[in-house]
Structure formats: structure tokens, C-alpha cells
């Protein structure tokens, strides 16, 4: 039963990663900060590596802390450079994101010398392929709490992140709408601009770290952006848009995984192809075909 032990946990992880990223992506797209998601997903790398060095453990909380720290440091650097150099946000991002990603790469090379192993491929592609849950031998075992302790650590972590973020979203839905659509009005209500900025950057950094294990630093961008961008084309209503984006994210994750693991060999590949890449392709295909449909419908109208 390799399905229960390899594919089921990987699919669960992929879906949860997609849901988490898409949830946060709604904020990024509406605030026109998609590039901040791009920048953050690169900038957290040195923090992740640093946290890993401190704990010596690939799934420790120090990694989340390190990533948050790196993300906030990067965001601070971007606005500092922007102010000092009279540069636009995108240029400042370009400088900071390459610097911090390179720092992460060099850090990985350094720790590999000292014996702890972390590879760059993991950072780029994620590690859906290496997720294993040895416990279940039959379908019934999935629901046996005794086996849950054996779950790959990524899954409880990302599930916890998703449900925490979703709850936070649900509770503060009104405030989120307010600060997103009318930042100046929310400032008069006593919600300072820097606080929203800080909270959103934190939320994105957390989502990126959580999804990082599943899809890696670059492909997480596709899960942040594509489902929400597609949902924006389908609806203008904020709540519905969130729902649609979550659905598309989960659907892309599922279909992408199925395509990579079973579809590609069926089409003649000598083996399974990279699942994270497959998921990004499906999310992109959905976005492009919805865009084309959108343009065609607009022309007819």
C-alpha cells in the first residue's frame, strides 16, 4: 500500500500548503503586493537555514522564528533602501531578494561543510517526494489516533498554520476588508498603517515557511498568486473570492500531484515528474485559461 504511505501524506501536504498560500495570497493581490510575496519567499531562506543550524533539526520552531526574522529584516531593508536611494519598490526588492537568497545559499554551503546536510534542491523544489507516513497498512489505520504521532512533521505543522491563519481571517474579516480597501480610513480608526503592513508581512512569511517544505521557495509564489488571481477574474465579492481561491488551490494541488505521479508516466515519462512543479503548472494553466475565457466573454459582451 504505497499509496497510503507515500502519496496520501504528500497529497495532504500539497493541498494544505496550497490552501495556506492562497489564503494569504488574497491579501497580496488586493493590496497589489504580489511582488512582496515573491520577495518574501526568497528572503526567508537565510532565516530558515539559520534556524536549522541553531536547532540542528529540520522541523523545529526556530526555523519559523528565523524565517520570520529574516522576512521582517528584508521588508525593513527594502523600505530603507527605497527611502535612501530614491529607488522604486521593485528595484529595492530586486536588490534585497537576490542578496538574501544568495546569503541563504552561501549559508547552506557553509553548514554542509560542518556536517549538517541541507540541499539547495530542497529549497528550490520542496520535498513532497520525501514525505513518508509509515504507519498505515490499510485504510482503517488512517483514523487510528495511535498512528497520528507518526505523521510526517510537516503535516501537523502546516495544518496548524492553516487553521490558525483561517481562524484569524474569520475573526478579523471586517478589519481586513477595511484596511485592504481603504487604508487611509482605517488609519483614522486607529489602526496604524505600519501595524497592518507588519501583520500582513508576518502572515505571508508564516505561510511561506509552512508551504516551503511542500513546494519550495519559488513555486510557493505560484500558490500565493495564481489561485487568487483566477478567483479575481471570476468574482468581485471578497468572501466569495477567498472561497473560490481556496477551492482552486486545493484542486490545483490535487490535480498537479496526480498529473506528476501518475499522469506523466502514463504519457510516456520514464518516471514520475516533480510534483511541486506539476502543481505550479496546473495552477498556471487554470489562470491562463480563465484569462482567455475572460477576454473572450468580455469581447462578446
Amino acid at each position: 500500500m504505497t499509496f497510503l504511505q507515500i502519496d496520501l501524506p504528500a497529497m495532504t501536504l500539497a493541498i494544505l500548503a496550497g490552501l495556506t498560500a492562497a489564503l494569504v495570497g488574497n491579501l497580496l493581490i488586493l493590496r497589489r503586493q504580489a511582488l512582496m510575496g515573491d520577495a518574501l519567499s526568497h528572503m526567508v531562506l537565510p532565516g530558515i537555514v539559520g534556524g536549522y543550524v541553531i536547532s540542528g533539526h529540520p522541523k523545529s520552531w526556530t526555523i519559523v522564528g528565523g524565517a520570520l526574522l529574516a522576512g521582517l529584516l528584508g521588508a525593513g531593508l527594502i523600505s530603507l533602501i527605497q527611502r535612501l536611494g530614491r529607488l522604486d519598490a521593485a528595484t529595492a526588492m530586486g536588490v534585497v531578494l537576490t542578496t538574501m537568497f544568495a546569503a541563504g545559499v552561501l549559508l547552506i554551503e557553509l553548514i554542509n561543510i560542518s556536517g549538517i546536510h541541507l540541499d539547495i534542491e530542497h529549497a528550490l523544489y520542496g520535498s513532497l517526494e520525501s514525505v513518508i507516513w509509515l504507519y498505515p497498512v490499510g485504510w482503517k489505520d488512517i483514523f487510528n489516533p495511535a498512528g497520528w504521532a507518526d505523521l510526517p512533521r510537516e503535516i501537523p505543522f502546516i495544518a496548524g498554520t492553516f487553521f490558525t491563519l483561517a481562524t484569524a481571517f474569520f475573526i478579523t474579516a471586517k478589519e481586513i476588508r477595511l484596511v485592504t480597501f481603504d487604508p487611509s480610513f482605517s488609519a483614522t480608526l486607529g489602526i496604524p498603517f505600519w501595524l497592518t503592513e507588519l501583520l500582513i508581512n508576518c502572515a505571508v512569511a508564516i505561510a511561506v515557511v509552512a508551504a516551503f517544505d511542500a513546494v519550495g521557495s519559488i513555486l510557493v509564489i505560484s500558490m500565493l498568486i495564481c489561485p487568487t488571481a483566477t478567483a479575481r477574474l471570476i468574482t468581485n465579492r471578497f468572501n466569495l473570492q477567498i472561497g473560490v481561491s481556496l477551492f482552486i488551490a486545493a484542486f490545483s494541488a490535487l490535480l498537479g500531484y496526480v498529473f506528476a505521479v501518475w499522469g506523466a508516466p502514463y504519457l510516456g515519462s520514464p518516471g514520475a515528474v516533480n510534483a511541486a512543479g506539476g502543481i505550479a503548472c496546473v495552477a498556471g494553466t487554470i489562470l491562463v485559461s480563465t484569462s482567455i475565457l475572460h477576454v473572450l466573454l468580455q469581447k462578446r459582451a
Binding site: 515573491d38 537568497f101 552561501l106 479575481r232 477574474l233 506523466a264 515519462s269 512543479g277
Partner: protein
Amino acid sequence: MLESFIGALLLEGGYNSVLVMVGLGLLGAAAGPVGTFMIIKGRPLLADAVAHATLPGIAAGFLLSLFLTGDGRNPIYLLVGATITGITAAGAMHLLKDGIRIGEDAATAATLSVSFGAGVVLLSFIQNLPTAGQAGLNAYLLGQAATMTQGEAWLVLAVGATTLLILLLVFKELTISAFDPIGAEALGLPVRLLDLLTTALMLLIVASGLRAVGLVLILALLVTPAAAARFWTDNITRMTAISALLGGLGAYVGGALSTAISGIPTGALIVAIMSSVFGFSLLFAPKGGAIAVAMRKHRLTKHIQRLRVLGRIADGVALAELIKVARHYGWADTNGRPTMSGEIAAKSWAKEEKLRSLYLTDRPEEANRITLSLMPLHRLIPRDVLADLERRSS
């Protein structure tokens, strides 16, 4: 290690590493100005999207070359593949941005990550093939200058030299049309064509630099020297030239570092050098660096404080909160009464002020230069003009 680094810097490395370093230097020198133009046009991250989008092209080029020649590592196939998917991505981005209501930021991010995803899928497909040479493809992600073949090194050198030559030939036209497209149009320059040429040069630099610098970090070659040059000058031509110098030097030194320290991705080393140069410029550049700006601000604050003190003394108003400043210059005693030197300074300030306002009524177009300067009037205008003003004011 230090010895081999210095040796490499002085071009005493092997034939290949000399080729790679000179090639990288030329490519970096071309990338700096092109990056400056891209920033001015408001598209600094287009290069990032294009760079990530070259991955599927590289993989497809490998497959095609494998199919046609039996060996996948022909750099020309990979370069052509990278260029084609790079162009496709730029087109897709354009479609997403202008065809529908997705913002430019979302279009960039989506294109970048999805095309990279397609590349990753193809790469994993190639890794499953029972053939040799696919491990070398990983070098395109973060760059491995040390393992480049002679053909690959010559390619970088040739493209670097060509792009630099084109830049030198049409430098003036490109600069004018980037910084002032309307003025350029009025001069009869083919602005759209020059715009296209800039993008084409960017694409060429990205595609040919991939093997050495890697597609994840090649953005730094274009953006970082251009951003660093901003701190050194406000003059457009000089800024572009400085970015060429910084880009060329950074890539050259990074390449040398990479031949000295084997096994570490070249892209990360080049970015480390480039970013250090950027950080140095940000802090220490005499024109726009943080320290220079802070010092200038400090001097201006002091100057304004001095003027306010002198103004109050001249008008006979109480110094109030400015006593401390006035005492610092010896212009007032502990009770806030003006001293002799304070009176003299105030009188000469009042005279200077009168001359300034007289001069500005004559020459209002000089307002910016005169009012923004901290220097006394006699340093700003010719002596005979000053003498004339003095005659009229008395």
C-alpha cells in the same frame, strides 16, 4: 585560497577561467547600463520573470539536442531554448497585464513561478532519462563558472562583447529614449525600436549569463549595479557609466572568487560581491550615500538654526528656545542678551539678506540655486554683480 583568488584576479588561472572571467566582466559591464534603462522604464523585475522562464527552454533545448545530436549539452541549443521561452514569458506577462485586470505585480509573479514550475517538471523528466549529462543542468539554477566547458566560456565572452559593443554604438540614443522618451521622439529617434532593443539586450544578457550566474540570481547582474550607481551621481550619462563599471568589476571579481573557491555556486558569490558594492555605495557614496545625506541634513539644520538666531537678534526679539544655540556661537550671554559678536553677526546677516532679496527680484530664475545653497552670496554670484547690488542697497 587567497593566493589562488589573487592569481585568478590577475588572470593567472587556467585558460577556461580566464575566458569565463573576461566574459563575465564584459557581460556585467553590459548588464549595468541595461539594468539602469530597465529601472528607468519601470520594469526592473521583468528580468527576473524572464530569467526564471528560461528554465523550461533550457530543459527543452537539452531534450532537442539529445534527440538530434545524441548529446544534450550543446550550449547553443540551450541558449536558443532559453531565449525562446524567455520571450514567450515576456509575452505572456504582457497579455496577463494588459488583456485582463491583473496587476503588473501579480502578472510578474505568476509568470515567474509558473514557468519555473514547467521547467522543474521538464528537469525532473530529464533526470529520469537513461542518459548522461543531465546533472550539468543543475548548474543553470545557481551558476557553476568553474565547470564551464570552453565552448560555454566562449559563448559568454562573445555575447558579452557583442552586447557591450551594441551598447557603445547606440549609447546616446538608448539613454535619451530611456530617460526622456517624449524628447527622443521629438528628436526623430525610433523610440519603440530602441525600447525593443533594450529588452532584447536584457534577454541576451540573461540567457547567456545563466550557465555562469544561474537563473535564480542573475537579476542581480542587472539591478544591483544600476541601483548602486544611483548613489554616486545624479547625472544620467555618468550614472549609466558607473553602473557599467560596477557591474563589470563585480562580475569579474565574483568570477575570480568562484574559480578560487570551487564547489560554491557562482551566482551566490557574484551576488555577494555586487551586494557588498551596493552596501558600500548606500553608506559611503559622497553624493547620495546615507552618511553624506545625514551629514548634509545636519549641516542644513544647523544653518537654519543660525539664521533664526541672527534674525531674532536683528529684530530685537527674545531668543527663547534658541538661547542655547546662540550661546554655542558666542552670540548671547546666559540671560539671552545678544553679545557684541552676536550684534555684528546679525547686522551682516541683515545686510546679506537684503542683498539676496534684491538679487532675486532681479533674477527670479536663480531662486533655486541661491536659496538652496548654504554658501554666502559672494561665493555664488560674480563680484561685479555683487558690487552693483551693494551700491543700490545703500
